[in-house]
């Protein structure tokens, strides 16, 4: 008998398109019952690659798989009044609805906040939109790259005078998803006291801007635009260096004495032996020169040897690795980060990235593989809404489900 997840008993309707699907997944991973409502032709995320064996198909999208693990799928045409009525019926017994339609769409479907709140006062509605529900840009169109741009996340990567480098891996979306899940939990905790649900208006642009630590701070402190600095971190304590066989990340926040003794024993310390470098502020001021000297020191080192020794001396150095290295990482393996998920209809098992945190009492876990299109439509409508077989057949024939 496995322990129930931390959010067992919570019912979430996930109406989001491909931009905001991680939000409900974070709740599903912790045991919430998440019903993904997708159009009868399948969610737009199913058309986004990469695909299993590079064969595009709506049940083979790895993009869809990642964001929809642990959810159930119900197909429903929300633009049809019968589909809207079914969604409303489900919302009556749900705790949370999460949506990412263009602003105003939910109202047109008859599922706006006023309706939902009237029908189920305890319901929490989380609306995730590129620029939020209000303001002059509320109807603007955006993808992750546009949001990274508008949130200030894109400008600061790369080198001065060159084209900025785009952040990796849709992090404007992911920051928004985390803030969405946080907001939902806050509204649920507030509901314990008030018994009332709330409407959450989340701006992905704001979530992106909030996920850049130093840009706003730099402006409010110095009224300047933080520039691009190549691989020199804005704090000036980290820079990429190159060993004989690969890149590493230098860090000058560890114990300086032991680092400089080591560099000295290799005969490469140069003027870094000067006592001023023992002060953090001096290392901050001299960062460019300091890292130039350290680059010259590491350039003939085999990378693994350098990193191993650095960590023994508690110097926060690290290899600059490709993501493939995560699969061979002994630490991740020991903690069971990657999990096997069985896809019985394919007769195969796949390794998924796993938990971002290990809960001692109520574990993160995989309870079901990502759903096939409409896999749970029948059982949800029959078992939970007590719909008659004829009614289901009629809705299916008319492509509402």
């Amino acid at each position: 008998m496995t322990q129930p997840g931390a959010l067992a008993g919570l019912r979430v309707l996930d109406l989001t398109g491909h931009r905001a699907q991680l939000c409900a997944r974070l709740l599903a991973d912790m045991g919430a019952d998440v019903i993904k409502i997708e159009p009868p032709a399948g969610d737009d995320a199913r058309r986004i690659g990469p695909f299993l064996d590079d064969l595009p198909h709506r049940d083979r999208s790895l993009f869809f798989w990642f964001y929809n693990l642990n959810k159930r799928s119900l197909t429903l045409d929300l633009n049809d009044s019968r589909g809207g009525a079914i969604a409303l019926e489900l919302a009556r017994s749900a705790d949370v609805v999460i949506e990412s339609f263009p602003v105003g769409t939910l109202d047109k479907m008859g599922l706006g906040w006023d309706t939902l709140h009237r029908e189920n006062p305890a319901l929490v509605l989380c609306s995730i939109a590129p620029f939020g529900q209000t303001g002059p840009y509320r109807d603007f169109n955006a993808d992750d790259t546009v949001l990274s741009a508008m949130g200030g996340m894109l400008y600061v990567n790369g080198s001065p005078g060159r084209q900025p480098v785009r952040p990796l891996g849709l992090q404007a979306y992911h920051s928004s998803a985390y803030f969405g899940a946080i907001a939902v939990m806050l509204a649920l905790l507030a509901r314990d006291a008030t018994s009332e649900g709330q409407w959450i208006d989340l701006s992905m642009q704001e979530a992106t801007a909030a996920a850049v630590e130093h840009v706003a701070g730099g402006y409010f402190e110095r009224h300047e635009a933080e520039p691009r600095r190549g691989t020199l971190h804005w704090s000036r304590f980290f820079r990429v260096g190159k060993c004989r066989d690969g890149y590493i990340m230098h860090c000058t926040l560890g114990d300086w004495t032991s680092l400089i003794e080591w560099v000295k024993s290799d005969g490469k310390a140069g003027d870094l032996e000067a006592p001023e470098y023992h002060q953090v502020m001096y290392r901050f001021l001299m960062a460019e020169h300091l890292f130039d000297v350290l680059d010259d020191w590491v350039k003939d080192y085999p990378r693994e040897e350098l990193i191993e020794r650095a960590q023994l001396l508690r110097q926060p150095y690290a290899s600059v690795r490709p993501p493939e290295a995560l699969f061979d990482d002994e630490q991740l393996a020991a903690r069971g980060f990657f999990v096997e998920v069985e896809h019985p209809e394919l007769g195969r098992k796949f390794r998924y990235p796993g938990a971002p945190y290990l809960f001692g009492g109520t574990p993160w876990r995989v309870s079901r593989r990502p759903p096939l299109v409409g896999e749970h439509t029948g059982e949800i409508l029959r078992d939970e809404l007590a719909m008659a077989p004829e009614a289901l057949a009629a809705l299916f024939a008319e492509k509402v489900i």
Partner: protein, 407 residues
């Protein structure tokens, strides 16, 4: 009523976190009404002015008490605060809290339903649990640094510590989920959060591509990560005032054009230039294959526009486009962020005000708010020892004299 209720009214967090990731987590909880008691050293690491900018953003809405954790009575005080807290958060490796008798098992003795969240770099278990790391080195280990490459392949990483922000959000979510569960079961628990795992979990589709398809990931540049699009990239625009080399001359716009009608609308919007009817750009597939030539043509159009004008023009036609905004843009120029009040103003001690980063969501009823600027180290010692622990003045002075508490 004195103050409106907030979602986390009545929740107390004992906060041992420092640097960035941990403080981001507890700041989110503090913004929403939790009483966050930050334990720190008399002389914290020199990370900058607490009353402005990043450091204010990290520590606002919190209380600060300076306890000497090398002193047995300092540890005693910390355990006494823990006994009155709901959640204890730290971002140390496993040994630190254990050495103080502040690990989950020990704290259960003083508060059976305590929630402990430890946000260490690589987690509390496993052969590398004592690995020393910071946000930038975790990004390096995960692939962000390498795959965010310049066109010539040089790793350009993040210019900041996204890993710290990501770890912070994960930590805040963990605390909220554990609190929700405790209200229903009466049980607390220990959460072992590895920041490496937190930041690795958000490159999911790429990791699946590796494990499922066996494909080695190469730097994606500006290729769309969410379905085919071309143009898809950033394009240089006209300088703001023409100062060469300044931020005003570093203007770019991100443009995304998908298939079908979007391309036709895009072409019409930029004035139907003759290159757009080149057979090499006829289909989405061809536009992606010939993206270098396409991008060069688009750049000729953007070079004559201001980034703002180009964005408005394209958005009116329903094309996803956005200025590559710098710090001045987002904090002072962007009318959207201004109208939504994303940069709230808070009072500083001397009656002046400063702006801080807001909360990226609004709750329609019981919501959070940025209320107070970050405290100085030990600013709230009187409150914590007096009101919270009920120690009289004489006792407090003896603790200070003994060196267990810094005034």
């Amino acid at each position: 009523m004195a103050t409106a209720a907030m979602p986390l009214d009545g929740v107390r967090i004992l906060d041992f976190t420092w640097v960035v990731a941990g403080p981001v987590a507890t700041r989110i909880l503090a913004d929403h009404g939790a009483e966050v008691v930050k334990v720190e050293r008399k002389v914290p690491p020199p990370l900058g002015n607490r009353k402005l900018g990043l450091q204010c953003d990290l520590h606002r809405d919190k209380l600060s008490v300076a306890l000497n954790m090398q002193h047995p009575r300092g540890i005693e005080l910390a355990r006494a605060i823990a006994a009155k807290s709901d959640v204890v958060m730290d971002n140390f490796s496993a040994r630190v809290m254990r050495s103080w008798g502040m690990d989950y098992e020990s704290l259960c003795a003083v508060k059976p339903d305590i929630i402990c969240i430890s946000m260490s770099g690589l987690g509390h278990t496993g052969p590398l649990s004592s690995y020393v790391s910071y946000g930038p080195t975790l990004q390096a280990l995960t692939g962000y640094t390498l795959l965010m490459a310049e066109p010539d392949g040089t790793p350009a990483g993040y210019g900041y510590s996204y890993a710290d922000m990501c770890g912070g959000y994960t930590g805040a979510l963990a605390a909220l989920v554990a609190l929700w569960n405790r209200r229903r079961t009466g049980r607390g628990q220990f959460v072992d959060l590895s920041q490496l795992e937190a930041v690795a979990s958000v490159i999911g589709p790429a990791l699946l591509d590796i494990s499922v398809n066996g494909r080695t990931q190469s730097p994606p540049g500006y290729a769309s990560g969410e379905g085919p699009a071309a143009p898809h990239g950033v394009y240089k625009c006209r300088a703001l005032k023409g100062d060469e080399g300044s931020a005003d001359d570093d203007r770019w716009i991100a443009i995304v054009v998908r298939g079908g009608s979007e391309w036709r609308r895009f072409v019409t919007t930029i004035g139907s230039p003759s290159w757009a009817s080149d057979p090499g750009f006829r289909t989405l597939y061809l536009r992606m294959r010939n993206s270098a030539a396409l991008d060069a043509n688009v750049s000729r159009w953007t070079a004559a526009q201001s980034a703002e004008d180009a964005m408005i023009t394209l958005q009116r036609a329903g094309i996803a486009a956005g200025v590559v905004q710098n710090g001045i843009d987002i904090c002072a120029r962007d009318p959207q962020l201004r109208e939504r009040g994303f940069w709230p103003t808070v009072s500083t001690t001397k009656g002046a005000t400063t702006q801080v980063t807001g909360i990226p969501f609004k709750l329609s009823g019981v919501s959070g708010d940025v209320r107070t600027i970050a405290p100085e180290v030990g600013e709230n010692t009187d409150y914590v020892l007096g009101e919270l622990l009920g120690l009289g003045r004489a006792e407090r002075e003896s603790l200070i004299a003994a060196g267990a508490v810094w005034p």
